[in-house]
């Protein structure tokens, strides 16, 4: 009896161990060893070592970031940037733990949708920008810079941005002799295309359990989930109708496959890459997927208009942590890493659509083989609005995504699910 109890006791506590392991939120362990070891440059300056926690998904991408870090040292011989790469999902576990345990990195990756949640951990850049004659703030695309600006204070510099555009499988269109979609394609024509393509196990389009992909279409259909003030309101009739219209594409018309894996936020891409999906909506940061994994021709155009021509704009940037020992040097490194030269490298490698207008053409040149991409991006910028987020968006988006699962699987109507989602979000944000 006692033994069993102890066993139960032990097992139940195994998980709490992992919690306690990162519970100590003291200011101990600030042992970054930030270049205090007396190493010097040739000029005799003290070398400052900066640690950069970055989000990165592949070896190829890591090489590009390394090049950018090396260039910082070329520009400022006394600054050395060490990169630590982590993939998207782990990044959002690792960053908060490091911040909490007092071992924050000097530089960090920041996604526009998380910026407000991490505002208190980022260094406000206003005074550094004021003292800096070289930084050309007007060069940044203002829509994405705004996402990193709170109360007129800039907290991060964007290195990329992008509007959601429509990717389409040209080979599939050719096979069924369907005309390619273009900027004039409206909702009726979009449905018509879907109908023609949804034969022989193919589908016109595809969804996935992540709101990022369908919010542009919801807006286009006249709905709105989050408004520009960050207010979450999903129960409006226009919005539930739009969501229902999209879900019906799966369950009524059969124009899109049933979502088989709701945990996978790139499930739609896996289907598209397999070659039997006609159209998919995502940002230009996914063009490398086309280059690396699609053995068919892909075309690009803007998100088709239903009630209105609209799409959302997203982006990422880098920030300085507010606990860094070397704010001055970290700012200089940040400026270099998001400067025109760095963004040119990102553009030439097809990694990012530069947030700086002065080097954006390098991206279009690098992507010249992707027919229609440049036109699609430029046209989308005209109709693009920022992707509005709420406070605590990581949790809100989880509620939205899981609540919508039953709508996309046809097990509940959008109206029913919306009430449920709204109640959960309200309870969270109250």
């Amino acid at each position: 009896m006692k033994k069993r109890k102890v066993a139960a006791f032990l097992m139940a506590m195994l998980m709490t161990l992992s919690l306690a392991a990162c519970g100590g939120s003291g200011d101990d362990a600030k042992t970054d060893g930030n270049g205090m070891d007396g190493t010097q440059t040739d000029g005799g300056e003290e070398i400052v070592e900066l640690r950069w926690l970055n989000k990165c998904e592949s070896e190829a991408e890591a090489a590009i970031w390394q090049q950018l870090a090396d260039n910082v040292t070329k520009e400022y011989p006394n600054i050395k940037v060490t990169i630590e790469n982590t993939d998207w999902t782990s990044y959002w576990t690792k960053l908060p733990v490091e911040l909490a345990s007092g071992s924050a990195p000097d530089l960090m990756y920041m996604h526009f949708s998380r910026a407000s949640d991490y505002k208190n951990s980022m260094l406000p850049l206003g005074e550094y920008i004021k003292d800096d004659e070289n930084v050309n703030m007007d060069d940044f695309y203002s829509g994405i810079l705004d996402c990193f600006t709170f109360d007129d204070e800039v907290y991060a510099f964007p290195y990329d941005f992008g509007p959601y555009v429509m990717y389409y499988n040209k080979d599939l269109f050719d096979k069924y002799k369907v005309e390619y979609p273009d900027e004039e394609t409206d909702w009726e024509e979009f449905l018509e295309i879907c109908k023609k393509l949804s034969v022989d196990g193919n589908y016109g389009t595809v969804f996935c359990s992540s709101c990022d992909y369908y919010i542009p279409q919801v807006l286009s259909l006249g709905g709105e989930v989050i408004d520009e003030n960050g207010t979450f309101e999903i129960t409006d009739k226009e919005t539930t109708d739009a969501l229902q219209t999209l879900a019906d594409l799966i369950n009524v018309q059969g124009y899109a496959p049933k979502i088989a894996d709701t945990a996978n936020t790139v499930w739609n891409w896996e289907q598209f890459e397999a070659g039997n999906i006609g159209m998919l909506i995502d940002g230009p940061w996914c063009v490398p997927n086309v280059i690396n994994y699609c053995d068919f021709k892909v075309g690009y155009t803007i998100v088709p208009a239903a009630q209105q021509h609209v799409t959302t704009i997203n982006g990422s940037g880098l920030a300085v942590s507010n606990t860094t020992q070397h704010p001055r040097e970290a700012y200089l490194a940040l400026q270099s890493l998001t400067g025109p030269a760095a963004q040119q490298i990102l553009a030439e490698n097809g990694r990012a659509l530069p947030s700086r207008e002065s080097v954006r053409n390098y991206y279009y040149e690098a992507m010249s083989e992707q027919e229609g991409l440049e036109e699609a991006i430029k046209a989308s910028l005209d109709i693009g609005i920022p992707y509005h987020v709420t406070e605590n968006f990581s949790e809100v988006s989880t509620i939205l995504n899981s609540g919508m699962d039953v709508v996309f699987s046809g097990e509940a109507t959008a109206e029913e699910a919306a009430k449920d989602i709204q109640a959960q979000v309200d309870a969270l944000l109250k």
Partner: protein, 302 residues
Amino acid sequence: MSVPEKKAGFKRKRKSDFGVALVFLAPNLIGFLIFTMIPMAFSLVMSLYDWPLTGEHTFIGLGNFVKLFTEDVLFWKIMKNTLVYVVAYVAFNVLIAMGMAVWITSLKKANEFFRSAFFLPMMIGIVSSTMIFKWILSDAGLVNSLIRFFGGEAPNWFGSTSTAMVAVVIVSVWQGFGYNMVIFISGLLGVSQSVQEAAKIDGANAVQTFFRVTLPCMSPSIFFAVVMTVISSFQVFDQTFVSTMGGPNNETNTLVLYLYNNAFKYQRLGYASAIAWVLFFCILIVTAFLMKQQKHFVNYES
């Protein structure tokens, strides 16, 4: 007079033993303190705080528990999911393990081969087996292709709220029954031949012998298997983390996954610690109940 003397002698002896015992126990005891006792106490303290990962933590008494039980709509759904999983998993696991154990012990040949074969999934690891099942149960996968071949309607296993938990239970049972099977095999082999022969002579048929004689004789191993399986199934995490992340619509969200999400995704360490203690008491109550029932069902030969 002799009694106190004896007692004193015993006491002295025990005292000297205690020091030695402590030295021998020290490595284990230190580990137990550092990795179990202290974190446990710490998590109890944390559960009484609003404890975000960054920023100030404030004492809120039983606030986390009150919120969990009265405000958190998701919590009761997760509680229900966890119980459904525990009941389904334990039942299928024990039944299949028992069936396999009886079948394998009855084999004249190759029983070692089958024993290893069915134990093998335990060695693969739950993450890999879940990945494999994700493909087997995918739309173009083996199972749905077979269902379509025979003219049935193929379910959207992990993607539909009505089948997601079924799929998770299938993966877990496939992966986990081998362990109980091995315990049952040793239990079956431990039942003395003479008792079974006596039953046969008394005119019991095979079914009667199994249910009236064999099963009661191996009840200690069944009890052990059930208790351990119940405890481990309350802590289901890997399967749902890999296959569904709790989806669709939280239909496969269970206590430990919810605990993990609260701690590491939403950064509410105090709340997560409260969930850990709720889980602890769930396991404690169920285990205590099973222990209490033990005397009715379990037959220790001695």
